[in-house]
């Protein structure tokens, strides 16, 4: 279908043909609609250039053209003739520069233009725009210094400039409203900022930042959740104050020139789950404090660390964590890869310095050591064997990512309960189990729901990392009407998502009487009364409102349906099951098939199940 030129409704105020399969070019005549406030053509197959006259529309407020195949440049005069607020042109093939006058009307909030071929530099006028809230220019060919004013733009909350060729440096203190700053894969230099009080996500990998990591970072960015400074030229020691980032879950400082010892304080960070300090010049011993259950990814390889690898790291999850540190040794019989045994090391040292030790004592020590070693090896074999037997039909090694600090639940206690008798649901994407356990921290009994998603194909490393990062963000979403994701376990053939268990099952069961459980039991239920139904509706609306309006950019659930609305013991509604499960099911399956199989009747017309992408933050309750 083509929008043609024979169209003359001159008083039109809104044109919205978004999310269709329309093709063709933007008719020149659109540029003469004096009253047009909104031009929404997103998610179609439009092509050709955006007429220059669009830039002269006197009433234009929102221009949403994303996900098309537009070429050419953005209209040069865009923003100069109207109180423009929003320009969203991501995922096109646009070239040329960012127009100078976007903010000329004094009301400009929002420019998203990622994945185009824009070049030139970021206009100073845009950096000086005091109303700017969001600027997303990832994956373009922008060059030049970023104007200094941008880092301190008063209203700016979301700034992402990844994968361009931008230069410049950060000021010591950035905007106090900034929540997300992503500037990886550019050519920024100078020092790392020390202060941005609202910042939650700060990624600046693969740039040329140098100098030391500011000692006051821990106080200056107290809300940080993700910090990625890898692939720069940072030097000096890792400041102890990093450990006071209580909300940090992801810390990557790999591929720098950091030296000194690893601060033991890092072991006390409550929610840190990924720590990568590889390829630096760190020395000294590995602090035993780092052995903690929620640190599930640790990479200290390619440093100058020495001494013994702390005992608690003897699990497969840490197998590659210590490679290429010639000074390290391990006490374990089968220690981490690339680390030699301490016994051998001690042996070679002994020969040099054993003159004062009697032969008998040395023999005694060696024998005792040998016995201990044999006992340790035997114990290890025994444990492995027991683990093997427990993992019925699951041959995987599992990696656990907790999202709450008082989980008190280990992988073993989950895995052994994934049995037929605990099965409470079978879905398109996998099985759901009800698992009871004893909380290791509190000693009390708890119940969780475990969703097992089998992976159809093999996940490549990128998708794997994406899954983890998205699970991490969903794990940090906290709202009364959203089911808490407690942790996720990642294996090569399946993923396990562990949620709070909801006593009253799903809204679907209550409304449509499909009460059969997986075990064939039927239970009679009284129909829900109107008051309960309305309360459920309000609860779900509150949950979705939070995801849409308090998260930036918004989190789109994609699969709202009654079977994903769960009810707790007091019939409070909790939204469950984000796109996460579907994301994995789509691997190896035609995506339209899995989408349709999932939720017929709930999909908006023309809805395209593109890849979900969560990357951001959420603020206060809606």
């Amino acid at each position: 279908m083509v929008v043609d030129d024979g169209f003359a409704a001159k008083s039109l105020t809104i044109i919205d043909v978004s999310e269709n399969n329309l093709s063709g070019v933007i008719p020149e005549v659109f540029g003469h609609l004096q009253n047009l406030t909104k031009l929404h053509l997103f998610s179609n197959n439009f092509s050709g250039e955006i007429p220059a006259s669009i830039g002269r529309l006197p009433s234009l407020w929102t221009l949403r053209l994303y996900s098309n195949r537009f070429t050419g440049t953005l209209p040069l005069e865009l923003g100069k003739h109207s109180g423009l607020g929003y320009v969203e042109v991501d995922d096109n093939e646009l070239t040329g520069a960012i127009p100078e006058g976007l903010c000329a009307g004094g009301q400009f909030h929002y420019l998203t233009a990622e994945h185009n071929h824009l070049n030139g530099s970021i206009p100073v006028s845009l950096a000086n725009c005091t109303t700017l809230v969001t600027l997303d220019l990832d994956n373009n060919q922008l060059t030049g210094d970023v104007p200094e004013a941008l880092w301190t733009a008063r209203q700016l909350q979301f700034l992402t400039l990844q994968s361009n060729q931008l230069t410049g440096s950060l000021p010591a203190a950035m905007s106090t409203n900034l929540k997300t700053l992503q500037i990886g894969n550019n050519q920024f230099g100078g020092n790392i900022s020390a202060s941005a009080v609202e910042l939650k996500v700060f990624t600046a990998e693969n740039n040329q930042f140098s100098g030391e990591i500011p000692a006051s970072l821990g106080d200056g960015m107290p809300l940080l959740e993700r910090l990625n400074l890898s692939g720069n030229q940072l030097s000096g020691a890792i400041p102890k104050s990093v450990a006071s980032l209580r909300q940090l879950t992801f810390l990557d400082m790999s591929r720098n020139q950091l030296s000194g010892a690893i601060p033991a304080e890092l072991g006390a960070m409550p929610v840190l789950s990924v720590l990568d300090l590889s390829s630096n010049e760190l020395s000294g011993a590995i602090p035993p404090e780092l052995v903690k259950p929620n640190l599930n990814s640790l990479d200290l390889s390619s440093n100058h660390l020495s001494g013994q690898v702390p005992i608690g790291f003897a699990t497969a999850a840490y197998d590659n964590s210590f490679r290429d540190n010639p000074g390290l040794c391990t006490e374990e019989a089968t220690g981490p890869a690339g680390v030699r045994s301490c016994a051998a090391a001690a042996g070679s040292q002994d020969r040099g310095s054993s003159r004062g030790v009697s032969h008998a004592l040395r023999t005694g020590l060696l024998v005792a050591g040998g016995v201990l070693l044999a006992a340790a090896a035997f114990a290890l074999l025994l444990v492995r064997d027991m683990k093997k037997r427990r993992r019925v039909a699951v041959r995987d090694e599992w990696k656990m990512t907790p999202f709450v600090h008082d989980l008190g639940l280990g992988e073993a206690s989950i895995l052994r309960e994934l049995t037929e008798e605990n099965l409470i649901g079978r879905g398109g994407s996998g099985h759901v189990y009800r698992v009871t356990y004893i909380n290791r921290l509190t000693g009390s009994a708890g119940v969780v729901a475990v969703k097992q998603i089998r992976i159809a194909g093999t996940l490549d490393e990128k998708l794997e990392r994406e899954f983890e990062s998205e699970a991490g963000i969903l794990g940090s979403v906290r709202h009364n009407n959203i089911v808490r994701l407690l942790c996720c376990l990642s294996g090569t053939q399946a993923k396990l998502l562990v949620y709070d268990y909801m006593d009253n099952g799903s809204l679907h069961q209550w409304l449509h009487g499909h009460n059969s459980r997986a075990d064939g039991h039927f239970t009679a239920r009284a129909p829900l009364d109107w008051l309960t139904r309305l309360r459920v509706a309000v609860g779900v609306a509150q949950g979705l409102c939070y995801l849409h309006h308090e998260c930036s950019p918004p989190i789109i659930h994609r699969d709202v349906k009654t079977s994903n609305i769960l009810l707790d013991s007091e019939f409070r509604a909790k939204v469950a099951d984000f796109g996460l499960a579907r994301m994995l099911v789509e691997v190896g399956a035609p995506k339209t098939m899995s989408a349709v199989a999932g939720s017929f009747g709930y999909m908006a017309p023309g809805m395209d199940f593109g890849h979900v992408h969560f990357d951001g933050f959420c603020s206060v309750v809606c």
């Binding site: 809104i14 919205d16 978004s18 999310e19 909104k38 929404h40 997103f42 998610s43 929102t62 607020g85 929003y86 909030h109 809204l507 409304l511 449509h512 129909p527 829900l528 009364d529 109107w530 008051l531 139904r533 309305l534 309360r535 459920v536 509706a537 309000v538 779900v540 609306a541 509150q542 979705l544 409102c545 995801l547 849409h548 309006h549 918004p554 789109i556 659930h557 994609r558 699969d559 709202v560 349906k561 009654t562 609305i565 939720s599 017929f600 009747g601 709930y602 999909m603 908006a604 017309p605 809805m607 395209d608 199940f609 593109g610 809606c622």
Partner: protein, 145 residues
């Protein structure tokens, strides 16, 4: 894709809550959303479409609001759908009203409710319930920025 896809799906949930029908149960019309739209536009009565187990409980006005809101949320054009913020406001107002009613002794005044229900509705008729919900195909909710 934007958040209006969730608004659509949530609209279907509202229709399920009021009609008791399943999302896929639209018969010749396709899904429940299409069925509800057709029912609404052809002047079918909402009580007729209401789930039997809540039809006579005395909340027909509120049910009508929620049903209409479901139709509005499932508009074909994403920009015609309200935002979740708008939806939440309407539902909160509606539940205030419901709560007030349920506080009064489960009333004699509602026993006759089925007889008092409006029988037919024109396509654009506004339910006079003070919640301010107005079903207009082309109403635009995006202006609430």
């Amino acid at each position: 894709m934007n958040e209006k896809v969730d608004v659509y799906s949530f609209g279907v949930v509202l229709l399920e809550l009021t009609t008791g029908k399943e999302a896929s149960a639209g018969g010749e019309h396709g899904g429940l959303a299409e069925w509800a739209r057709h029912h609404y536009q052809s002047g079918g009565s909402i009580p007729d479409a209401t789930d039997k187990s809540i039809r006579y409980a005395g909340y027909s006005e509120e049910i009508q609001v929620v049903f209409s809101l479901g139709v509005l949320c499932t508009a074909d054009m994403p920009s015609s759908r309200p935002t979740m913020k708008d939806v939440l406001q309407i539902l909160l107002k509606c539940s205030e009203q419901t709560c007030q009613k349920s506080k009064m002794e489960n009333g004699q005044e509602y026993e006759a409710a089925p007889l008092l229900l409006p029988q037919r509705h024109s396509r654009r008729k506004q339910p006079s319930n003070g919640t301010g919900i107005d079903i207009q195909e082309n109403s635009d909710f995006d202006s609430t920025v």
